[in-house]
C-alpha cells in the first residue's frame, strides 16, 4: 500500500456472499511440480521498504515489512538489508577465510572446511543500530508504519561453526585481545570485536533458515555476534586479524558512535537495548469494532525477553501480553494480547522487559540521555493512535522544545530516509 493509504484489515460482509471467481481453480489443473518454489503472485506487495530519498541503492538499507509477517522468523527474502557498496556476488568455490595476526598458525579455510567443524544452529535477531531512527523526527511522522518504525531488525536461524573453535585451531598468542574481521565487499567493510565476545558466542555462519546464507546477509559466510548491533556482524567474511588493539575503522568512529545529551560521543555501544513494536494494529492499518488480537515483536540484546506489557490507554495502565514461543535468548519473541475494541479513539503501545531488568524508555527518558542529533540505538516506546474511524497512525507525542528534524540521519547513512 502506498504511504498515506490505509489498509483495511478486518473485512466485514462481502457484497455477494459467494465470490464469483472462488471456484475457478477447481476446474483447471494447477501448476506442475517444480524444483524450486516461489510465493503466490498475490503476495507480490509484501516487500522490503526502500526509502525513495536514497541517493544510491549501492549504500543504504531496506526494511523488513514487519506488519505483514507472522511468527518470529523473518523470511530470508525479506530480511532487512544494510550494506555500503552493494551485495558482492561471491563464488563459493573461490571463497576462503583467513585467520592471521597474533596466532600460532595462520590458517585458511574453504567453505567445505568450515562445514566440517562441529556446527551450531541458533535463532538470533540481527538489528541495525540505526533501527528506530524515524523516532527522532519531531513532530512525529504521521505516515509512519511498523516497517518504517522498526523494520531494521530481523530474526533468523543461523548455522555455523563457533568462532572460538577456529581461533583455537589457529592457536591464540599471548596478548591477543581484539579481532578485526573484514568483508569481501567493495568497501572491504571492517570492524573491531573483542576476543572475549568471540570466545563466548560468536558464530562463523554459513546457513540461514536452513539453506545457504542469502547474498544480502553475507553469502557464503558471515559473523553472527548475538545481541550486538548488526553493523559489527561482518558479512562476506574473508579475513580475521587477531591483534592487541582495535582498528578504529570508519564505521566504529565516524559512524556507529553515539552522541549523548551532554555532547560526548560514545564509542563501542555494542549491545542492543530491549525493544518492542506492535505490528497489529499499526500505522496506516484500519480496524473495525470488536475482537482483535494485538500482535507485536520484542527482543533484547541483553538476553531473554521476560515480559511485554501493552497499554490500551496511552500509557496510563499496562497489561501483560502473552509471549510465543517461550523466549529464546537474543531472539525475537512475538507478544499477543486479546482486545475488544469499543470503537473509541485511543492510543496503544508496548514495552519489553528483558531478563536483566532493562526496559524501554519513553521518548522523554530516551532524549534525557541521548542527544537529539544522535543516529543510533533509539529504543523508546512506539505508540499508535486508533481513531474513532478505526484508522491507525503514529501515536508518538510532539516533544516540546526539541528541534524539528525531518530525518535522523545523513544522506546515505544507515536506515536513512532523508
Amino acid at each position: 500500500a502506498a504511504a498515506g493509504a490505509f489498509v483495511k484489515l478486518s473485512g466485514g460482509l462481502a457484497q455477494s456472499k459467494i465470490p464469483q471467481g472462488a471456484t475457478e481453480t477447481m476446474k483447471v489443473l494447477g501448476t506442475t511440480l517444480r524444483e524450486y518454489g516461489e510465493r503466490s503472485e498475490f503476495e507480490k506487495d509484501v516487500i522490503r521498504y526502500i526509502s525513495p530519498n536514497l541517493r544510491s541503492r549501492h549504500t543504504g538499507a531496506s526494511f523488513a515489512p514487519l506488519e505483514k509477517l507472522e511468527g518470529v522468523v523473518t523470511p530470508s527474502s525479506l530480511h532487512f538489508e544494510r550494506h555500503h557498496a552493494g551485495v558482492p556476488n561471491v563464488n563459493p568455490a573461490e571463497y576462503r577465510l583467513v585467520i592471521h595476526g597474533m596466532v600460532e598458525r595462520p590458517l585458511m579455510f574453504t567453505l567445505e572446511d568450515l562445514k566440517r567443524f562441529p556446527s551450531v544452529t541458533r535463532t538470533y535477531f540481527i538489528e541495525c543500530a540505526g533501527n528506530g531512527q524515524n523516532g527522532y523526527r519531531n513532530p512525529p511522522d504521521m505516515t509512519l508504519t511498523a516497517t518504517r518504525s522498526r523494520g531494521l531488525v530481523s530474526n533468523s536461524s543461523w548455522t555455523g561453526v563457533p568462532l572460538s573453535i577456529l581461533l583455537k585451531e589457529a592457536g591464540l598468542k599471548e596478548g591477543a585481545r581484539w579481532l578485526i574481521p573484514e568483508g569481501q565487499d567493495a568497501a572491504a567493510y571492517t570492524r573491531s570485536l573483542p576476543l572475549e565476545k568471540a570466545l563466548d558466542d560468536v558464530l562463523v555462519a554459513y546457513a540461514q533458515n536452513g539453506e545457504a546464507i542469502r547474498p544480502e546477509q553475507g553469502y557464503p559466510v558471515r559473523l553472527v555476534v548475538p545481541g550486538w548491533e548488526g553493523s559489527i556482524q561482518v558479512k562476506w567474511l574473508r579475513r580475521i586479524q587477531v591483534t592487541d588493539t582495535p582498528v578504529m575503522s570508519k564505521d566504529e568512529t565516524s559512524e556507529y558512535t553515539d552522541v549523548m545529551a551532554d555532547g560526548k560521543i560514545y564509542a563501542f555501544t555494542w549491545v542492543m537495548d530491549p525493544e518492542s513494536i506492535i505490528t497489529y494494529p499499526s500505522g496506516l492499518q484500519q480496524i473495525s469494532r470488536g475482537f482483535h488480537e494485538i500482535r507485536g515483536l520484542a527482543w533484547s540484546g541483553h538476553g531473554r525477553i521476560r515480559r511485554v506489557e501493552v497499554s490500551l490507554d496511552g500509557g496510563q495502565t499496562w497489561k501483560q501480553a502473552s509471549l510465543e514461543p517461550a523466549p529464546d535468548a537474543l531472539s525475537v519473541v512475538r507478544f499477543k494480547y486479546n482486545w475488544v475494541w469499543d470503537g473509541r479513539e485511543t492510543v496503544i503501545m508496548s514495552r519489553a522487559w528483558d531478563e536483566k531488568g532493562n526496559t524501554q524508555p519513553t521518548q522523554e527518558e530516551f532524549f534525557a540521555k541521548w542527544a537529539r542529533n544522535n543516529r543510533y540505538h533509539y529504543n523508546a516506546i512506539q505508540a499508535w493512535r486508533i481513531g474513532a474511524d478505526g484508522k491507525v497512525v503514529n501515536g508518538d507525542k510532539t516533544l516540546a522544545g526539541a528541534p524539528a528534524r525531518l530525518g535522523a540521519v545523513g544522506r546515505g547513512g544507515c536506515g536513512g530516509e532523508s
Binding site: P106, A186, S249
Partner: protein
C-alpha cells in the same frame, strides 16, 4: 596443528598475498611505506574524488569531506558530521580511503596517492598545515579535534574493564 586438523596453514607471505587491503590500526601499525603531499593530494582528489564529494570536499552527489575545524556539538545535525568535526583518528582516513574509495573502483590508488589525498583532506579541514608530507611516521601523530569528545561507552567499559580507546 589444531585438534580438528581442518584448514590450510599459511606462511606469512601467503597471508600478505591474501591481505590486499591491510588494516591500519589507530597506533599506525599497518601503514605502508611511501608518502604524499597536500599538492599531490589535490591532484589525486580532483581526478578521483571531486566528482562525488565536490570540487574541494564540500560535498556533492555524496558526503561532504570538509567541515569547520572544531568538533560537533550535540545540536549539530548529523548530516553535518564530517571529517573535520567528527572523525576521531587520522589513521581511519587512510584505512578507509585505501579500503573503500573511490566508491565504484576501490583499490586503484597507490599507497603514495592515498597518503597524498589524506593529506589534502586533512589540510582542507584545517587540521594540518601541509608543511610535512604524509607518511607512516607523520600520519599517526595527527590529532583530530573530535577525539576530545570520544569516550568508551560506560556499559561497555563495565563489561570489558581492560578496554582503552587509542
Amino acid at each position: 596443528q589444531g585438534r580438528y586438523q581442518i584448514g590450510t596453514p599459511l606462511s606469512e607471505q601467503e597471508v600478505q598475498q591474501w591481505n590486499i587491503r591491510p588494516s591500519i590500526l589507530a597506533n599506525g601499525v599497518g601503514l605502508p611505506p611511501g608518502q604524499g603531499t597536500v599538492d599531490e593530494g589535490a591532484r589525486v582528489y580532483a581526478t578521483h574524488c571531486a566528482s562525488c564529494h565536490g570540487a574541494t570536499g564540500e560535498g556533492g552527489a555524496f558526503t561532504r569531506l570538509v567541515s569547520e575545524p572544531f568538533p560537533i556539538t550535540k545540536d549539530v545535525d548529523s548530516v553535518d558530521f564530517a571529517i573535520g568535526n567528527y572523525w576521531q583518528y587520522a589513521t581511519t582516513l587512510f584505512d578507509y580511503t585505501r579500503r573503500a574509495m573511490p566508491f565504484a573502483t576501490p583499490g586503484i590508488l597507490s599507497d603514495d596517492e592515498v597518503y597524498a589525498v589524506v593529506a589534502y583532506i586533512l589540510y582542507q579541514n584545517g587540521i594540518i598545515d601541509g608543511s610535512e608530507p604524509m607518511n607512516a611516521q607523520t600520519l599517526p601523530k595527527v590529532q583530530m579535534p573530535a577525539r576530545a569528545l570520544l569516550e568508551l561507552d560506560p556499559n561497555t567499559q563495565k563489561r570489558f574493564p581492560w578496554i582503552k580507546l587509542p
